[in-house]
């Protein structure tokens, strides 16, 4: 899942930065006879790092912005069957109609709230988030998700909404076919 990739890449990059800081800290008590050449080399390195960072930045943003989760009138319809689903949130319960689907079916959730801000988060049967959007009073947020595996999905509230926030959950059933 994307979460595992993000975790692994983050840990590697964070670890590399930590190693650089630790290496500089460990050698700080030594004194250079001439600070000039190393600092000049460091600034050359920074120029290269800047260039590399810009390439990564442009590539990562170009790639990741290709598929946005936002649905608009101009969004193309999904390849398979789509079901409109009305989702209404209020302290501290979800009303989801309908709440049974099949694998391969795309649910188009129309998410709103009757009172305060809530967060509509769809957890797969392994309890990992697969999609989410906010439920805000006065707005309808449209989220599409195509079910890939059968089982019981959980909907949890991910925007703090009061004392029963942690208990604001419901289930969605997805049949094999």
């Amino acid at each position: 899942m994307i979460q595992d990739t993000v975790w692994a890449v983050s840990i590697v990059l964070m670890g590399l930065l930590a190693i650089v800081f630790a290496w500089v800290a460990a050698g700080a008590d030594e004194t250079l006879a001439d600070y000039g050449p190393p600092i000049a080399a460091a600034y050359r390195l920074r120029t290269w790092l800047f260039a590399a960072a810009m390439i990564v930045l442009v590539a990562a943003n170009y790639r990741s912005l290709e598929a946005l989760p936002y649905v608009s009138r101009s969004s193309p319809p999904p390849a398979g069957p789509m079901q409109r689903v009305d989702v209404s949130a209020e302290q501290w319960a979800w009303t989801i109609t309908p709440s049974s689907f099949s694998v391969g079916q795309t649910a188009e959730f129309h998410v709103s709230s009757k009172d305060v801000n809530h967060g509509f988060a769809l957890y797969d049967p392994g309890m990992r988030i697969v999609a989410q959007t906010q439920a805000m009073p006065g707005y309808v947020n449209v989220l599409r998700y195509t079910f890939k595996e059968p089982g019981t999905y959980q909907v949890l509230c991910l925007e703090y909404c009061g004392v029963e926030h942690h208990d604001m959950k419901t289930e969605i059933n997805v049949a094999a076919h």
Binding site: Q3, A25, Q132
Partner: protein, 486 residues
């Protein structure tokens, strides 16, 4: 530009005022950390705290930490910027008094009134308590934030006035002419002035917008027909919140610019890249806030895309200028580490390392599965606890003089560092496993993350207790030293 140090007449010595700030910071920081530890212990199911009290503690922890970070940053910034521009000690002290009045109101709203709408008070939650808190309790909380905001607004206006009196314009004080090659680098402002200018620009705007949404929320409590657009309110709250909390880091980093060179005997290099970084950071901090609303699909798509791109760009000045500057300043400099220099260096590392998970969270495709999971407190505790607060604790140790550097202080540093690393990694790991943030009750499958996090939090509290305790123990003697010390 050479600027002579100036002072403003006041009955309170500036050094005493800074030490008073730090004493308040130390005590409030420890209290808020204990609140945080209480939440982690509750989630770990090692102690039993009922949900209504848990969410009060959550609200107090958030508001308290943001406030104390602001006060801590103000102490660092004021201490150093007053060497270059005239500032008022009276206004500085007034800010602390406003903070304390606001803190009493906020603590009262929570622990007496039961207010628990989180520190972000997302409209219209303060008016929808589900019977748990009264309208008056919500009003006390909002009023407390307004009072604190008034103090900070006065503080920033006074610093901005001082800067303008010396530099003539905020652009010059920020180093904009140097950034764009219109003036020689050597004529640029000192780092403390550039940083203070950036902070004044963004925080004055942020506080004004924050005050507006606070007043709207306050009126709505008593006049429900005075409704407001929830999305507009969220934009205003996150603009204010993002700007304010990020400004605390930009204030604290002045301690790095000023303290590290004293140890390395190398001046902090203020070249064109340095000034350009501060100019860009000023713009980025003001326009990046939509990355908090990436899951608000009703937002204009262009604003959310902008939020992602600016999130990525924002990391560059931090990593390639400040972090790189600290590394080159320290590299084989003959520096002899002690608690103060160690903490400010850890602060730069924490800030830089925290950029990585922050950028991840600011990416729409990742935010779709990470938003409001524990990844979020994971990344912001990396750059606020191990970054900003490490810088602050370094400044606290430095200003108290040599007597605060030794004894239990090095042990405090190591406990803080090791515990902090465990603490933030437990959050990040849990976030990647979809564990929600801000839950009073956790599923059994989530307990390992909570228990490791609670152990890390315990070490952080122990380390901070040693560092703050050492500072408070020597405070009396530190206050008797002349105003220029250290």
């Amino acid at each position: 530009m050479a600027v002579e140090a100036v002072a403003s007449p006041s009955r309170i010595a500036p050094r005493t005022a800074v030490l008073a700030y730090l004493a308040v910071v130390g005590v409030v920081l420890l209290l808020m950390m204990i609140f945080g530890l209480t939440m982690r212990l509750t989630q770990a199911q090692w102690i039993d705290v009922p949900p209504d009290l848990f969410y009060v503690i959550l609200t107090m922890h958030g508001a308290g930490m943001v406030g104390v970070a602001g006060i801590a940053g103000a102490a660092v910034m004021w201490h150093f910027v007053r060497r270059h521009v005239p500032v008022s000690t009276g206004v500085f002290v007034a800010n602390l008094v406003f903070f304390l009045i606001g803190a009493v109101l906020i603590l009262g709203s929570g622990f007496i009134g039961g207010f628990a709408a989180a520190w972000t008070f997302l409209f219209p939650l303060p008016a929808h308590s589900g019977g748990l808190w009264s309208i008056n309790a919500a009003a006390a909380y909002l009023l407390g934030l307004i009072v604190i905001g008034v103090g900070f607004l006065l503080f920033h206006l006074d610093v901005a006035r001082g800067i303008l009196s010396v530099y003539g314009s905020l652009g010059k004080a920020l180093g904009a002419p140097q950034a764009f090659g219109l003036a020689p680098e050597k004529e640029g402002p000192p780092p403390a002035v550039a940083a203070a200018t950036m902070v004044c620009i963004v925080n004055i705007l942020g506080i004004l917008l924050g005050a507006a949404v606070l007043v709207i929320s306050l009126v709505n409590l008593y006049v429900p027909s005075f409704a407001f657009n929830a999305l507009a309110a969220k934009n205003m709250i996150y603009f204010f919140g993002h700007v304010f909390i990020n400004a605390t880091i930009y204030m604290a980093v002045i301690a790095v610019y000023e303290i590290l060179p004293l140890y390395t005997h190398r001046a902090w290099k203020t070249n064109r890249a340095f000034y350009l970084a501060w100019v860009l950071s000023t713009v980025f901090v003001l326009i990046v806030y939509p990355h908090h609303l990436l899951m608000d699909f009703a937002m204009p798509t262009w604003a959310l895309v902008l939020g992602q791109i600016i999130s990525w760009l924002s990391g560059l000045p931090v990593l390639l200028v400040t972090a790189f500057g600290a590394l080159t300043n320290v590299y084989r400099s003959g520096l002899k580490w002690d608690t103060a220099s160690g903490l400010v260096f850890i602060g730069v590392a924490g800030w830089a390392i925290g950029v990585i998970p922050a950028i991840a969270d600011g990416t729409i495709a990742i935010n779709s599965v990470m938003h409001n999971t524990q990844w979020v407190p994971g990344h912001f505790h990396t750059y606020l606890l191990l970054g900003m607060m490490a810088m602050l604790l370094g400044f606290m140790t430095y200003i108290a003089g040599p007597r605060s550097l030794y004894g239990v202080a090095p042990t405090g540093l190591w406990l803080f560092l090791v515990g902090g690393a465990i603490f933030v990694l437990a959050f990040l790991s849990a976030g990647s496993s979809s564990v929600p943030r801000r839950y009073a009750v956790h599923l059994p499958a989530w307990l390992p993350y909570d228990r490791i996090g609670a152990i890390g939090a315990s070490l952080v509290v122990a380390g901070t207790l040693l560092l703050v305790g050492r500072f408070l123990a020597v405070l009396r003697k530190a206050a008797q030293e002349p105003d220029g010390a250290p």
